[in-house]
């Protein structure tokens, strides 16, 4: 009560000064007054009340119709005051949610973390950047200790928290597979059953699974409806789409996946990605496949990790630093 009284005195003085001088100084102070009031959660109707009281004290002879009109104004402000308070409480709630999501995002980072393996024969570059706080893309490396390297790249159709929850499930299913059994077709077949049983029918997951054998330099792979990657033939200096058929995970429990194989020569590159890369946009225009390949080519003389980072920077800039979809890019390059 005492602080409100103080404000009344303050307001009265400001008002009096303004009526007398009508200068900008008093108006500036009015602005300060309104900011201070907002800091103290004071509703507009209270300001009007202070205004009415100030007028009454300054002009005891104030005509009745002015007084009545002021009361009328006060009444019309009540709902604005309520909306203002609701706004304040929704804002607090939003901050709470934001901090909860950032905790969850950190947790997800830990849960889904994968270590990029150090393999002598293959130079590996990997990068995954979420569009929002939570990442709906997922990539994972597994080594069997006998020269085989498994690489999974997956994308949940959808973004944000639901996609992230879904990915955690995929990660734990994959962790439970014995390291001896890394055949891409077997892994996709088994994940398909997990997804079909546990995930809502409206949610789809695409996945590419590849297995690089560094003894024989063969790359075997299967795809569950995943965005096609690219293969770069060093001798011909040509890219080729790795487009293989396969149904997305979770549609039917009976789905089986065909496995393909490729011999990898020195200098060849395998490029795996999600649609966040191929569906980059410049304004309203989707970029062309050639543009992506051109950019990759441009940086391909660098170590693989620097290549993926430079490609990302290129498209980040192209899209005004605002990703529309989660962006994951993996490049494997045969060294020796």
């Amino acid at each position: 009560m005492s602080t409100l009284k103080l404000d009344l005195e303050n307001y009265k003085e400001l008002l009096q000064e303004y009526i007398k001088t009508q200068d900008e100084q008093a108006l500036y102070q009015a602005e300060q007054f309104s900011k201070q009031s907002m800091q103290q959660n004071i509703s507009p109707e209270e300001i009007i009340n202070v205004h009415i009281q100030s007028l009454q004290e300054l002009y005891p002879e104030m005509p009745d119709y002015i007084q009545a009109s002021m009361n009328f104004l006060l009444e019309t402000m009540i709902s604005y005051g309520l909306a203002y308070q609701e706004h304040q409480s929704l804002r607090e709630k939003q901050l709470e949610l934001k901090s909860e999501i950032s905790v969850a995002a950190n947790m997800q980072k830990t849960l889904l973390s994968t270590v990029k393996p150090d393999v002598e024969e293959v130079d590996i570059g990997a990068l995954s950047v979420p569009a929002k706080q939570m990442n709906g893309d997922y990539h994972h490396f597994v080594q069997d200790g006998k020269g085989s390297l498994g690489i999974a790249v997956a994308d949940v159709i959808g973004k944000g928290v639901p996609a992230a929850l879904c990915m955690s499930m995929i990660k734990y299913s994959m962790d439970s597979y014995p390291e001896m059994r890394m055949d891409p077709s077997v892994i996709l077949g088994s994940l398909n059953r997990v997804v079909e049983r546990n995930v809502d029918a409206s949610m789809f997951i695409t996945m590419f699974y590849g297995l690089y054998n560094s003894n024989t330099h063969t790359f075997s792979y299967s795809s569950a409806g995943h965005e096609p990657g690219f293969y770069y033939y060093s001798d011909r200096d040509e890219f080729e789409e790795i487009d293989v058929p396969g149904l997305v995970l979770g549609v039917s429990p009976e789905t089986s996946y065909t496995q393909y194989q490729k011999k990898v020569e020195k200098g060849d590159m395998i490029i795996l990605l999600t649609d966040g890369v191929t569906e980059c946009r410049q304004g309203d225009r989707f970029i062309e496949q050639e543009e992506i390949l051109h950019v990759i080519k441009q940086y391909s003389h660098l170590p693989a990790q620097e290549t993926v980072e430079n490609v990302y920077k290129h498209f980040e800039r192209l899209q005004d630093f605002h990703l529309r979809d989660d962006f994951t890019l993996i490049i494997l390059k045969r060294n020796v």
């Binding site: 109707e45 006060l74 009540i78 709902s79 604005y80 309520l82 609701e86």
Partner: protein, 133 residues
């Protein structure tokens, strides 16, 4: 509880009657202009809920006075369909009566004490109190 003054809510016009009676009582108790306006707005909201969702009901008023403080208690009672999800209607931003920032959370903000009981198919009873400061 012994409520002396009640207004039956049957038509929209009755909302005005309830506001008027509530404001008169609040003024007599000694509430200032701002609080009178807040109390009237809360009454409006309660009465309009009855008019829109229950069809009929009543809003009653009682002046409170004990050793320490004075106040007004308002009871809104109807035998309408009741409210199934109380926690939902008490949530900000849920209000369906079209009144921005109002609804039951608004009534709660306008007043000091707020209590609601509701049973599906039987009706709703809301009691609110505003204390004189």
């Amino acid at each position: 509880m012994d409520f002396q003054s009640c207004v039956n809510i049957k038509k929209e016009w009755d909302i005005v009657g309830a506001r008027q009676l509530g404001r008169d009582i609040a003024r007599k108790i000694g509430f200032g202009t701002v609080d009178q306006a807040r109390i009237a707005t809360a009454i409006s909201e309660l009465a309009r809920n009855i008019y829109l969702y229950a069809g009929t009901g009543k809003v009653c008023f009682e002046a409170l006075e004990d050793m320490n403080q004075k106040g007004i208690r308002i009871l809104a009672i109807d035998s309408g369909p009741g409210i199934k999800e109380l926690s939902q209607v008490m949530e900000d931003g849920f209000s369906t009566s079209g009144g921005l920032g109002a609804g039951l959370p608004g009534v709660k903000r306008l007043m000091d004490d707020f209590d609601i009981t509701s049973e599906e198919g039987k009706g709703t009873e809301i009691t609110v109190i505003k204390w004189l400061r």
